[in-house]
């Protein structure tokens, strides 16, 4: 499909990775996965996804470090990133949005059934820009 959007999920928990990837695949997205920060960074550069779903607690590099690196690199800074994590303190959310995430979702508070809709919304809004917002 020519307009099939590519989503990269960076998540080290295999159970959640399967749930998110299956859900987005069923909704017509082309899904790629990475289980560590380093792998994720490499895949963003290599695969140029339309959007990245990024966990925070990850092996090697944490999600905030990855987000910072993506936003510093001219090649990747335009890729919208949604944080999808269980760290839900105001300070965590602020860190994510300040670093340039377009949204911040807390896994236990957010319904997976709404994930495709949120992803579509951010691809439509932030496909060309990276202005922060919160759902």
């Amino acid at each position: 499909m020519a307009d099939q959007k590519k989503i990269l999920i960076i998540e080290d928990d295999k159970f959640l990775l399967k749930l998110y990837s299956d859900k987005l695949s069923r909704e017509g997205f082309l899904v790629s996965m990475a289980i560590s920060g380093e792998e994720g960074l490499g895949k963003v550069k290599q695969e140029k996804p339309d959007l990245v779903l990024l966990d925070v607690i990850l092996p090697q590099k944490n999600g905030f470090d990855i987000l910072g690196a993506l936003k510093l690199d001219p090649e990747t800074k335009g890729v919208p990133v949604i944080m999808l994590t269980n760290l839900g303190q105001d300070s965590d959310i602020k860190t994510g949005l300040d670093l340039g995430a377009v949204d911040y979702l807390v896994k236990t508070d957010f319904s997976i059934t709404k994930l495709p809709e949120v992803v579509r919304k951010h691809i439509a809004i932030h496909g060309a820009t990276t202005t922060p917002s919160s759902s």
Binding site: D13, F15, L19, K23, N86, D90, T108, S111, I112, T113
Partner: protein, 239 residues
């Protein structure tokens, strides 16, 4: 070599640390369980029978309760460590109370309780953490409904009281006995009467609520008569 004897503070610190680690570790598999149940319930993977839906909904309800309990444990451990962080944004307490009441109407109906709200007009906003104050109001109103008996009433009100905004929640529930009054805001405390009526509480809601209100510069208190009902109130300064 045996560990040196820990002081009371060190023991509390270690318990808090372990609670925090375990709570975080539990959230990941719970997020997966909750998401799986939501997908099944949505019919995404095929049609779900009425009976299957009923069981899945019960399992989802159980998962959400566990998530709520973990959040409370994390909040309590942050309070114990003095690490609770509160945002500060101009907030309409009346609007927050209205949201809580609207969300709990169905629960009140199921408990045969009449839930109402009275809001004074033009109350100035207060600078507080809206999400946390929402949590406090939800705790108070939810408890009032949960511990109601027979055909009860729960009346929520928000008004200005001098330099403060005053929230109150009056119920006709079981009330609080003399022996429980000085323990009601204590961590993990649950009255035996309350445990018999609603066995699934954690005894953390009012402990956390008190910490949130006091850290926001306000006060929280209650008046009660056993067998006739209680009034829980808090005040927050208008800034």
């Amino acid at each position: 070599m045996p560990d040196k004897q820990l002081t009371r503070e060190e023991t509390t610190g270690r318990i808090t640390e372990v609670t925090s680690i375990i709570s975080h570790q539990l959230k990941t598999p719970l997020a997966g369980i909750k998401s799986s149940l939501e997908i099944l319930l949505s019919g995404d993977l095929g049609e779900v029978s009425v009976k299957q839906r009923e069981y899945l909904a019960l399992a989802l309800d159980g998962s959400n309760k566990m998530i709520g309990l973990i959040k409370n444990l994390l909040d309590a451990s942050r309070i114990d460590e003095g690490r609770m962080q509160l945002a500060s944004t101009p907030t309409d307490i009346g609007a927050l109370a209205k949201t809580v009441v609207d969300d709990l109407v169905t629960f009140a109906q199921a408990k045969n309780t009449t839930l109402s709200i009275t809001l004074e007009e033009n109350i100035p906003k207060t600078s507080v953490d809206a999400l946390k104050i929402h949590e406090v109001i939800n705790n108070i109103v939810y408890n009032a409904i949960r511990y109601s008996k027979g055909k009860g009433t729960v009346s929520v009100g928000v008004r200005r009281d001098g330099h403060d905004v005053l929230f109150s929640c009056v119920d006709t529930g079981i009330g609080i006995g003399e022996g429980d009054r000085n323990k009601i805001f204590s961590k993990f405390y649950r009255s035996p009467h309350v445990s018999a009526l609603a066995p699934d509480g954690s005894g953390l809601g009012l402990y956390i609520s008190k910490a949130i209100i006091e850290k926001s510069g306000g006060k929280i208190w209650f008046e009660s008569e056993e067998g006739r009902g209680s009034t829980f109130s808090f005040s927050l300064p208008i800034q």
